[in-house]
Symmetry: C2
Subunit: 391 residues, 2 copies
């Protein structure tokens, strides 16, 4: 038997216990929990084959009561002795995509982001469109290109057309960008025609991840009318490997700001509207360029899920929805380079160089932390990606 | 041993041989081929467990050479004697969703449809947006709500706002519509950063189905800027149960009309640009209301796939993409009630009643046929759905 030492101040203490999928030395991928600087092999520790799977989906599908029970059991285990072979140093494991993604939807829930993008894409109009404060605007993205952190991002090619040009040209994107977001993972879905009320969020959503919605702004600007973003986004979406349980985010709940003018329609109302006090940090080639504050988001995670299902659409284990870019009111709180560089017109200084959009070889790392129940903080780990030249 | 009699003039003769998934008397679902008025149980007939699956995906994933070989083998079988128990009358089987849908994308490939919708949704602007003739506009839809023909459609609820109203209201859609389309099923996908050239279409696309993209026009009109359709479409998309192999559509190939002004960018060019001469028929409560002609489509199936993957996005077995509403130049060739009733202003007469959008209890059946290799015709069967009241 062995024990796990959790370093003081670890972002992965027993108030966190995020789930992921890992492999060691080429062994089959399986479910683990990050504890301190270790990974606990759940199939080995608990002797339950639901964890001997290459995704969290079978476990998530068991539902809320089971999520609560397993979390309790892990807390007990971690405080005591653990079978030999069930603990690995985090540096020795390879993390995999933690979920089998069913449908992926991306929202647009930051008022600061939506206003900034409105000013940049439609300079002659009101920045927020008339529907924006009435419903959480969102669209479906490509679930097959959701990738785990660390996967390299090949620069996408596509059509772009500058306003002054007569016709589009084809080639590698010249305005490759990030979007710093949170992603929410549905663990227990619902059949058709059973909308999920906002108050039922915790029984359906298993956890949250950091998400980078890589975006080719030149491709997006040319293609996006009238059916929305497509190839400008569909090449890659990266997520962090450790899924932080919603159960671990109780202490991060804060009252939801705003929503008084207008008041949302009844299906979007919560008994006690809440947001999440999560701090993100965006590093570009190792230099911090932004600190997007999730607490500033206009629409809540529960409202987004209620909206997704109110038309009768079913939901499934593995559904993933993103918050949309997290931007705060300050310039250094913007979650996309489009906004940080104001459409490329106001370059940032990164490692002493003037920069607007991503160059080949650039690396972006987004990290995130939240208050934990014990007065400390819990971590989301990171979502990392490096840009490779187009093929 | 037994034999299959194919009635004269059957739309399911040996030039067709579409694949589906069926069950009999509650037995496990498995892969079958429709032949005349019979269904051939492929696992029983060929003794191959890849067909003892509840979707076509495992077989499709085996790739093009195998699709050709199995089709040959089925033709031999059907011309001779077949093991007892491997043949069922079509009236005795229950058809299931034939594929496990990976990503679902819907295009907008009919110039007549896009122009009509542009006139209706943006009456003060050019009907076709500037990008439309440069790229096949499309967007991702919800793969979890792709349903097999025969599934009832519960009227969706959502937000709508008439232009004159100050604020949106919530309730059942009052403008529930159809979109008559073809859907294309990817059998053999590609990894990231390996775009599929249009000429490689047959090696990747396994077959085609009829598709009804149910649409709530009032929800769609309010929500769709700037990120495209979402809840107005995500509640249900119905497909026909029999997947017609691309190998069966050789005789339906016709030269692609148009595309001279502008000429598409090189990645969208085919050696021999082709469309498909497929005739659809739309019946509303048993009365024929439209005959959408697939031959009139602007963008080809191969161009849509090339566009989908040109940015480096991977594709997967089970990816489904729709053509978008098929509308011809004539009024009685329009594939949506939005266009047939000109936004509700010019009602149709259906069974003696004036009608614009769908009422509860209405049933829509879309059928389709194409030329077969032997001078006869092959059939797609039907995609059928009935509207139930909102819950």
């Amino acid at each position: 038997m062995t024990t796990i030492d959790i370093p003081d101040g670890s972002l992965f203490g027993i108030e966190n216990l995020p789930y992921g999928v890992f492999s060691v030395d080429g062994d089959p991928a399986r479910v683990g929990v990050r504890v301190g600087d270790s990974v606990l092999d759940l199939a080995a520790a608990l002797g339950d084959d639901v964890f001997a799977a290459p995704s969290l989906n079978p476990f998530m599908a068991q539902g809320y009561d089971r999520w609560v029970a397993v979390r309790e059991r892990i807390r007990e285990l971690v405080s005591g002795e653990i079978p030999d072979g069930a603990v690995h140093p985090v540096g020795r494991v390879t993390t995999r995509l933690p979920i089998e993604v069913a449908d992926y939807v991306d929202f647009y829930a930051s008022e600061h982001h939506a206003s900034n993008v409105g000013r940049l894409f439609r300079p002659d109009a009101e920045p927020l469109l008339p529907n924006w404060k009435h419903l959480p605007v969102g669209y479906h993205g490509r679930s097959g290109t959701v990738l785990v952190s660390g996967t390299d991002i090949v620069r996408p090619s596509g059509q772009r057309k500058a306003p002054a040009d007569a016709a589009p040209v084809f080639g590698p994107s010249t305005r490759l960008d990030i979007e710093a977001e949170l992603g929410f993972v549905v663990g227990a879905g619902t059949p058709s025609n059973t909308p999920i009320a906002p108050d039922d969020f915790p029984r359906h959503v298993f956890g949250a991840v950091l998400l980078n919605d890589w975006s080719a702004r030149d491709i997006q600007a040319w293609e996006y009318v009238p059916l929305g973003p497509h190839l400008g986004k569909s090449f890659a979406t990266s997520i962090s490997p450790w899924v932080v349980p919603i159960l671990a985010l109780e202490a991060a709940r804060i009252p939801l700001p705003g929503q008084t003018d207008p008041v949302p329609l009844p299906y979007l109302r919560e008994s006690d509207p809440w947001g999440l006090d999560i701090d993100l940090v965006v590093e570009w080639n190792g230099e911090e360029v932004s600190r997007p504050p999730y607490r500033e988001m206009y629409w809540s995670p529960a409202q987004m899920l209620a909206h997704l299902t109110v038309n009768g659409a079913s939901s499934r284990t593995g559904d993933l929805y993103g918050s949309g870019t997290i931007s705060g009111p300050e310039k250094n709180q913007r979650g996309a380079f489009l906004e940080l560089s104001w459409g490329g017109k106001e370059p940032l200084t990164v490692k002493g160089e003037e920069r607007t959009f991503l160059l080949d070889g650039d690396e972006v790392v987004i990290t995130g932390t939240a208050p934990g129940a014990d007065g400390g903080r819990i971590g989301f780990g990171e979502v990392r990606g490096r840009v490779l030249p187009s093929k």
